[in-house]
């Protein structure tokens, strides 16, 4: 399916490497996930994990940003934003949960593996694992609501972890912190907390560290690819070298990558939705009159609405990625215009995706709801993304802060 022909985004932004990677991943999506989903549904062990392994290790996605001399793909420049948007969109077409896990993984990597913030020592340290034979996924532990009204907060939203400085670095503590994904399977966590002078910082934490404990996996709406569980940290020690970034601008820069890649995951889910409803609309006959479903004016009107949202989702995603990929033109990822564009891209893409998928289910009626037709899993996934990544009201305030120069919120 030539989605570019259907929903054009400015192809001039994409380089050969982006297109070639996207094609490879598109083939992976069809062969490793889509071909197996009727039989295996969302089975983690039988379908999703093997597919992730293939993608991350065999195709080598997880080490894409690492320098070639360390065994990686050598793509650690801001241009990677375009590559990742194109790739994660295709992953999302296969499974939006895997795409979401990748968004976490690469957002974390963006903090230390991409120019001008390359941390050679850390890259070197992690290279054997990341460029090795096992899938390595990461997860973010971001600010969230809290029962404690006095908790330190990032723009009003409490951090889930607290960091205490001592001579040797930091001691992290958290009680039942909710990771964005994969609490029970991530190799590394990026933990947001308040550092010196209450400046935000992101700390790299691994689950094998002393004082780190993982709760029972909990049941949730979607994202079968993410086995999630709450995390508790009792004085987990982190050296200064584990502090991936400090300061509001750097934190917003990392989040800009995260939101953009999550937008790409939503866009991918919409491509999958497109394939499903396209086939339904082409083959179904209604009104007992031999009217092909899609040729009914009311159906067509909704299809137009759905297609418009798909086009918009792609445009928002690739535009945000473009802004990230060219800091020389648009400023750093954490600058207010770029970071805000990423927030808007995610929020509007996720909302549009939910609307388009809801409308699609309305067209397919019960079939939209039945596992067999494959649509409902994307619908559950994207809804999970929409609520977990960034609560609506928080996003709205983020946008208003930049556009209207808020001082207090």
């Amino acid at each position: 399916m030539d989605y570019q022909e259907l929903f054009p985004v400015p192809v001039e932004w994409l380089q050969d490497v982006d297109r070639s990677m996207a094609r490879t991943v598109a083939d992976w999506a069809d062969a490793e996930v889509i071909a197996g989903r009727l039989e295996h549904k969302e089975d983690y062990d039988a379908l999703l994990l093997p597919a992730m392994r293939k993608l991350l290790v065999d195709i080598g996605l997880q080490s894409m940003l690492w320098p070639e001399e360390m065994g990686g793909g050598g793509l650690g420049t801001p241009d990677a934003a375009m590559t990742l948007a194109a790739v994660i969109e295709q992953v999302g077409r296969a499974d939006s949960g895997i795409a979401f896990v990748l968004a976490n993984t690469f957002a974390l990597q963006s903090a230390f593996a991409i120019e001008p913030y390359k941390n050679e020592a850390l890259l070197e340290h992690m290279a054997p694992v990341v460029c090795g034979k096992d899938p390595v996924i990461a997860s973010l532990i971001l600010p969230s609501y809290s029962k404690d009204p006095d908790a330190a907060a990032f723009y009003g939203l409490p951090y889930q972890a607290a960091a205490k400085r001592d001579a040797d670095g930091w001691l992290l503590s958290a009680r039942d912190a909710r990771p964005q994904c994969s609490g029970a399977g991530a190799y590394a966590f990026g933990v947001a907390c308040a550092g010196e002078s209450d400046e935000p910082m992101l700390v790299l934490v691994a689950p094998h560290l002393r004082g780190f404990s993982t709760g029972e996996p909990f049941k949730k709406t979607g994202l079968a690819a993410s086995i999630n569980a709450d995390i508790t940290m009792d004085g987990v020690r982190a050296a200064d070298a584990q502090v991936l970034l400090q300061g509001t601008t750097r934190m917003r820069g990392m989040l800009a990558w995260y939101y953009t890649l999550c937008a790409a995951a939503c866009s991918g889910a919409l491509l999958a939705t497109y394939d499903i409803i396209k086939e339904w609309g082409d083959t179904r006959v209604i009104k007992g009159k031999g009217q092909v479903f899609k040729e009914n004016p009311l159906v067509a009107s909704l299809l137009g609405e759905i297609g418009g949202k798909m086009a918009m989702g792609r445009l928002l995603t690739f535009n945000a990625a473009r802004l990230l990929s060219a800091p020389n033109l648009y400023g750093p990822a954490g600058s207010p215009p770029v970071a805000t564009a990423a927030t808007a891209a995610f929020k509007l893409a996720a909302r549009g995706a939910m609307e388009a998928m809801d409308n699609t289910m309305e067209l397919m009626a019960s079939a939209g709801y039945a596992t067999e037709w494959n649509l409902e899993r994307y619908w559950r996934d994207v809804k999970t993304l929409e609520s977990c990544v960034l609560p609506e009201t928080v996003a709205q305030t983020d946008l208003a802060r930049h556009y209207f120069d808020l001082k207090e919120l």
């Binding site: 009003g156 909710r178 049941k219 709406t221 007992g288 309305e362 009626a365 039945a370 977990c388 609560p391």
Partner: protein, 422 residues
């Protein structure tokens, strides 16, 4: 301290037994459903947890007898003048706990509406079928076998297709109907139903509504087979599957009423479905109101409980407002069914069309509101611990069933604008 009972109902409409029955159902739901519902998703196929709750409500408390005349062992609500209003309350209370369960419960009465409701009680069939429901403490389910593989809810689109797309046939052979056809998707299929109301035609391809037939078929009859349940995004208590009728025979008087009348009274089934759907949605929303109130009081943002943040309060307000509105509509819809003397026959095009309007309105609002509720809850919007995501998944199917939104729109347009070719 505000509770769900503070949402508006037109008090003038309530049945004298409203409080009594409502209290019973609420106690049952809080005792036998709400503590277990979080595990229902995994119980979709076996119904190990779900069946006992049905047994208690339907069989032991006896709610499955509601519609039958008293003298055949029922509670006689079919001639009470409050049939729909009572049902509305019961549906709300059940759906507050689990809307899949409410749908399964509601649909049990769907075929019975054809024969138990004044002024068109079919005494002979009531007597014949009542024992299945009234002489037992086991739950007894019924289902309307309507949808067919090609064209889906086209069956319900009677104005435009006039029954001509129905491929399930009933042929009279002596004093028996011989039924052949393939149905799918009805609530309480997938092996659950003991009795089907089968929408079929006595003359394949005919647009003459005299050929539209509604025939009762006990599920254990030879020639009637059911598939196992489909797996769905939610609503585990409502099983759906395929049903095949192969030379399936029933007595000739198992047809509800006969030529013309079957088609006419079948619209009353639609009216009850509209009212029920609206009530299901209200029940689910009321439960989410309770949950949201707890969540937004307990969790903080900007150093304050969520509900004290004006932006979040704005979303909470819309949520409460919509419940209040949908609840009024559910009871208005019920009242219009209960009082044909004031509002016209419950099978009239007007009552059907208006009910479709309330139904799709309530469903659309509910889906939107639940999406926003999940967004407010952030990382907890999608975990099962809070049950909001469950209601969201469940309510979506209420929106999709009965032909979905587009069919509702066409019926409303036809009635209000006198469209002739839709």
């Amino acid at each position: 301290m505000r509770t769900i009972d503070d949402f508006t109902r037109p008090l003038e409409y309530l049945a004298p037994v409203d409080k009594h029955l409502g209290d019973i159902v609420r106690a049952w739901a809080e005792r036998e459903v709400m503590p277990y519902r979080r595990q229902y998703d995994e119980d979709w196929e076996a119904h190990r947890l779900i069946e006992p709750a049905f047994r208690s409500l339907m069989g032991e408390l006896g709610f499955q007898r509601m519609l039958f005349p008293e003298d055949v062992g029922g509670w006689g609500f079919g001639h009470s003048g409050y049939t729909a209003t009572i049902a509305c309350r019961a549906f709300e209370e059940i759906a507050r706990a689990d809307s899949g369960m409410a749908v399964a419960f509601g649909v049990l009465f769907w075929p019975l509406v054809m024969i138990c409701n004044e002024p068109h009680v079919n005494r002979r069939l009531c007597e014949e079928l009542a024992p299945m429901f009234c002489d037992t403490t086991a739950p007894c389910f019924a289902a309307n076998a309507m949808t067919e593989p090609q064209g889906g809810a086209d069956i319900e689109n009677m104005e435009i297709v006039g029954g001509s797309t129905i491929e399930t046939t009933a042929v009279l052979d002596g004093d028996e109907w011989v039924i052949n056809g393939h149905k799918l998707w009805p609530t309480n299929s997938g092996g659950v139903a003991d009795l089907f109301g089968v929408v079929c035609t006595t003359k394949a391809g005919s647009r003459d509504l005299d050929d539209f037939a509604f025939i009762f078929v006990p599920a254990k009859n030879p020639g009637c087979t059911q598939s196992g349940p489909y797996q769905k995004a939610g609503m585990a208590a409502d099983k759906n599957g395929d049903i095949w009728f192969e030379d399936c025979r029933v007595p000739s008087w198992y047809r509800a009423h006969g030529p013309g009348l079957d088609a006419m009274y079948f619209k009353e089934v639609i009216s009850f479905g509209n009212m029920g759907s609206t009530a299901f949605v209200v029940g689910a929303l009321m439960n989410v109101y309770e949950i949201l109130k707890d969540f937004c009081t307990e969790q903080t943002y900007r150093g304050k409980p969520l509900k004290e943040n004006d932006d979040i309060a704005g979303v909470l307000a819309d949520f409460a407002r919509d419940i209040d509105i949908c609840r009024i509509l559910a009871y208005q819809c019920a009242r219009m069914i209960d009082r044909p003397d004031l509002y016209g026959e419950r099978w009239s095009d007007e009552i059907v069309a208006k009910g479709r309007g309330y139904k799709y309105f309530a469903c659309d609002r509910a889906v939107e509101d639940l999406k926003k509720a999940m967004n407010i809850m952030g990382a907890h919007g999608s975990d099962r611990l809070w049950d909001v995501e469950k209601h969201w998944r469940d309510v979506k199917i209420v929106q999709l069933w009965m032909g979905g939104k587009q069919l509702c729109q066409m019926e409303v347009a036809r009635w209000f604008y006198e469209c002739e070719t839709l």
